[in-house]
Symmetry: D2
Subunit: 379 residues, 4 copies
Amino acid sequence: MSEKKNLNIGLVGYGFMGRTHSNAYCKVNNFFDLEYRPQLKAICGRGEENAKAFAAQWGYESVETDWKALVERDDIDAIDICTPNNTHAEIAIAAAKAGKMILCEKPLSMNLAEGEEMVKAVEEAGVANTIWYNYRRVPAVSLAKKLIDEKRLGKIFHYRANFLQDWTISSNLPQGGAALWRLDVNAAGSGVTGDLLAHCIDTAIWLNGSITDVSAMTETFIKERMHNLTGKVEKVGIDDACTFMCHFSNGSLGLFESTRYARGHKALYTFEINGEHASIKWDLHDLHRLEYFDHRDDSLVRGWRSVHVTDGDMPYMDKWWVPGLQIGYEHTFVHQVADFLDGLAKGTPTSPTFREALETQRVCDAVLNSAQSKQWVNV
Amino acid sequence: MSEKKNLNIGLVGYGFMGRTHSNAYCKVNNFFDLEYRPQLKAICGRGEENAKAFAAQWGYESVETDWKALVERDDIDAIDICTPNNTHAEIAIAAAKAGKMILCEKPLSMNLAEGEEMVKAVEEAGVANTIWYNYRRVPAVSLAKKLIDEKRLGKIFHYRANFLQDWTISSNLPQGGAALWRLDVNAAGSGVTGDLLAHCIDTAIWLNGSITDVSAMTETFIKERMHNLTGKVEKVGIDDACTFMCHFSNGSLGLFESTRYARGHKALYTFEINGEHASIKWDLHDLHRLEYFDHRDDSLVRGWRSVHVTDGDMPYMDKWWVPGLQIGYEHTFVHQVADFLDGLAKGTPTSPTFREALETQRVCDAVLNSAQSKQWVNV
Amino acid sequence: MSEKKNLNIGLVGYGFMGRTHSNAYCKVNNFFDLEYRPQLKAICGRGEENAKAFAAQWGYESVETDWKALVERDDIDAIDICTPNNTHAEIAIAAAKAGKMILCEKPLSMNLAEGEEMVKAVEEAGVANTIWYNYRRVPAVSLAKKLIDEKRLGKIFHYRANFLQDWTISSNLPQGGAALWRLDVNAAGSGVTGDLLAHCIDTAIWLNGSITDVSAMTETFIKERMHNLTGKVEKVGIDDACTFMCHFSNGSLGLFESTRYARGHKALYTFEINGEHASIKWDLHDLHRLEYFDHRDDSLVRGWRSVHVTDGDMPYMDKWWVPGLQIGYEHTFVHQVADFLDGLAKGTPTSPTFREALETQRVCDAVLNSAQSKQWVNV
Amino acid sequence: MSEKKNLNIGLVGYGFMGRTHSNAYCKVNNFFDLEYRPQLKAICGRGEENAKAFAAQWGYESVETDWKALVERDDIDAIDICTPNNTHAEIAIAAAKAGKMILCEKPLSMNLAEGEEMVKAVEEAGVANTIWYNYRRVPAVSLAKKLIDEKRLGKIFHYRANFLQDWTISSNLPQGGAALWRLDVNAAGSGVTGDLLAHCIDTAIWLNGSITDVSAMTETFIKERMHNLTGKVEKVGIDDACTFMCHFSNGSLGLFESTRYARGHKALYTFEINGEHASIKWDLHDLHRLEYFDHRDDSLVRGWRSVHVTDGDMPYMDKWWVPGLQIGYEHTFVHQVADFLDGLAKGTPTSPTFREALETQRVCDAVLNSAQSKQWVNV
């Protein structure tokens, strides 16, 4: 193994995403045969105590409390950004200028303008870059991509996606700070649009091509919440729910909905694609399955097929266990790291790059504009 | 049984709906204990041969080929309208003037203006009237109504409904005439909006109250089809797909979609309601089940409950078999006849009346207007 | 329709099965094009009041209180036996002697010896005869038969069936009389073996051929119950649960289980067949679906297919509605009447005949013997 | 973290289970807060090349090719046995004599006699020991245990379990050697009984108490296969399928089936428990769900609940991600290591110990004896 090349990681942020990424770096070489091996060089967080504890738990060699210092370190090859959305641009642009590769959590940015600057920065610097839209790399979702690329569905008529949660229904839940920054418009930029629909849009563009125009509706059900950073009850600036209709450039119709007020759904990301010959459905709550319907089947035995995506011929699954034994959520991050490391070895970019993720940002901006103007908006 | 009162039925139209209604009239007294008993007095259809065959198969006593003659017959108490949408108004208005009760297939009318005349006619005549929005009387849907009326769901945040089919995908399918009048805009008035979304809207208003404004998108995927009545390839005037977002007056958000281009779905009418405390889902493809989630459940055993709506304490189910044994689609019509006959005995109207169905027509019109204007439209 | 031949029915018993059969006689000609038309000539029940009410509800022309009188009536063509199991043999043998056709509820008899006499009687009399093992005629089950006959499954390895209920768990439930005769060993002959497993065995033999030997286990969980006929607490003589393993003559292994103590299951009759190439699953709680798996499918889209058995090319379904709209439990009886009437016209027997049903009785007897002897028993 | 105590692991065998265990050792301290930290000290395999590659991939510090040498090493605290069943006893007994802790793959042994010696060895040596019946530690299965221990189900009537696979249907598949030792009776001891039913039995005893007597049936569908070790076609000595009925000491009835000839099932381990008040179902193909039915629910909303076992209050789930995001198969091994390390710190044994696993062995032996003798056999 001495021949493997190290890739020194500097991680910014030690929250939920800090954990999923760290796990991916730790595991990837146990399962994938790669030229590169991530080294957990440094973790950076403003809370030194927490950062040290995180370093101890995951084996990071050092701790920084200022990301600017991290970005300047010579022994760091790649900056991984796991901090709230309002910090992505500043960190990413500085990292690009320092010549670091960048793996940045989604969404790319607070808005389109910021995203464009980020793309410019990484492209001018010529550094490898990727955005963690991890759901592309659920094996069942990768399989959907493969089936579509093989033209099995025929002409596409409909694409619909939902991302339904129910964790913010209580009006007693405060906004802002630590685990609740997603409810604070200043940290998150938007509510479900940037947090959840961004995932749906990224997958949709990947599977079904570009979106041309949108008509959207948003709602904020709870208008005021205690703010953890100010200690006062303040107006809620995020969208609690967002729905939009759209057209794709391939002529199909799109329908998207996301909310955090759908009682009974924890993280129910689903999509369905209806083609002339075949249709596909997927559901994050049972992420190891893909539903497939093919009208060309013999009519006596034609029905939705529940494909248990665990065999060795399924995307990524030759690296794991045996047929019938499912992997979980965290593996999507391992797959993205594996692809990133493989891309490094081959000199190819890892999708979605910043530029690709900018398309999702463009749609998100159009959606929010449409909801405000109550008009159809071109993307 | 000699004490039962006869209700003499004159049925106009012997297609798919003519069969479902006839079956309901035949069966209702076997299962429900009612004061009235429908008598299959006359069937009316322009094709005399077909009408006679239908009469023989179902036991109608006589045949008419002109609905105007039927409406004038003294021995007819109620006119049942099962003809294409473009005939509803004329027949219903004439029947009302002749003092007949009217049971009319959905949708009420070709458009709002026509519907208003129909409502006026039946109300001025003071005749019993109802529209066959039969899905209200699926026991699982009636159960949903009961749970909502008992306030089990708490404040409602979301209502979404789909009606997905796939039977018109082939461009070789012609439009117009007999079984294909639903593809002919002159006979149907609209496509999926009046045919399928009308069902979804009727249920939605019943369960969740009135809709205040809508933003819609329609599409006609196949622009031209051979027309059976003209023998020529003609422009398709109906909507193949229709999607709309809306607000309900109770503050919840609505999302509706219908299409005949969703490969893999035959008649997939589904709805889901998300409340503060509980949520409900239903699906026509398994119409005997209701899915229910209650957040107040003990968290260790909290999950979506699949209620097999076959026990005797479920709506209408004390009239049928034993727990575990499902009824089907046709029973919804039996239930509506039973309720209509019961209403006659008690002197109460049977929902949805023409006036109630007019609300659905109002939303349909707003939806089609919005799709054309690309604007939000008030209902 | 005047050219249809009447088939005059004399029904014995007005319980649950009396209703399902009467409904079938009433509806069959509305949906099936047949030479014969059943006439509801007479209903026979010991309780005159109840019999009259039943006659009024279903339209029977006359009432008898003694089945012997019914059997002797010249205006009766066919006797339909819906009384408890302990009366089947006597009525059937007398009816055969009187030259009547016989439609008898399942199971054929109290035991094998009695069944053999019944077979002898109908065969000597040369009268048409059938046993109401209605589940064969669920369209999804008939489809399973068709798929098997087309050799789609290849060599069969396993057949398993369950019939699970939960309605007798309470020890407060009495036994005997009216609706509870199934708990009284003197009226029923056995518990779940004759009531529920008989269905499973009939289907199994039909689909998978004969059973050669069995090893069984029975249990009576509640040992004593109040007896409605004696007014005293008496020993329970029936089996509450019965499980057996077996071999089929085609080399496959069988596994059967039935109980009335499976909390959560109302009438969950399921079977699964595993073949070399393909497998099939079915479930009475969603009787309109058949699950099918074919290993020869392209591995990327290989999975269990949920076939919604409602299209016109499915068994019996061309007679009902349109794709996507399900029929229910009661339709299985309509199908059996339709097949019986069709068989009359063609001069062919209607499966299962008494002789065919005797095979099921033979297995039931072997099962009960094995449970008692704790040995494998040859059928 | 310097204060953590090391636990030096010596792993014997680098196959499928070698990977699952290594992954567990690597990850456990990232997710669980424990006193001990496993150190991957040595991997032992007869193939030096393969062993070195495995060591490189997983980070083992050294390689041994003779397990006897490994067992004698002073720097090893615990021996983990991942080799075929016919080696368990010899290695475990030697390890115990050398004073090593032992983590041994299931089943415990080739047969009961061997198992008894193993139990004696570890108990005399007083070394910590556990058998990797990993499915106990699927969170949904642990939840089932919790619900049962809380007496939610009431008196138990039925326990049924299946373990269905389809990977050996082809007669071209050889037996013996490397990945196919499970088909070689000399290496495996038995077929599905020891490989698959052993899992079902372990869970059953854990959840439902001891089994008193059994009646079993086995079958070997393919009688001869090419043997990889001899190069000749040889008789197949294992059971391809095994079914048994049994009684539990709590009065409930058991039914178990396993086969590798159930087309369409990859690793479908399911169990269902029916109690007086409530029932539970679980299925390995969707291991993150538990189905629960409670008869005490309000009858209008009573149904099987699908519990998505991903919330923080579910067993083990506070260590992983957020509600709605599932873990997979491999995590069960992480949980067992976590519990083992926690047990070390607290001085408590980790279930199932060798002694506990001996009970499963006892049932397996009775099952095989019953199948051969065609008699009921006491356990």
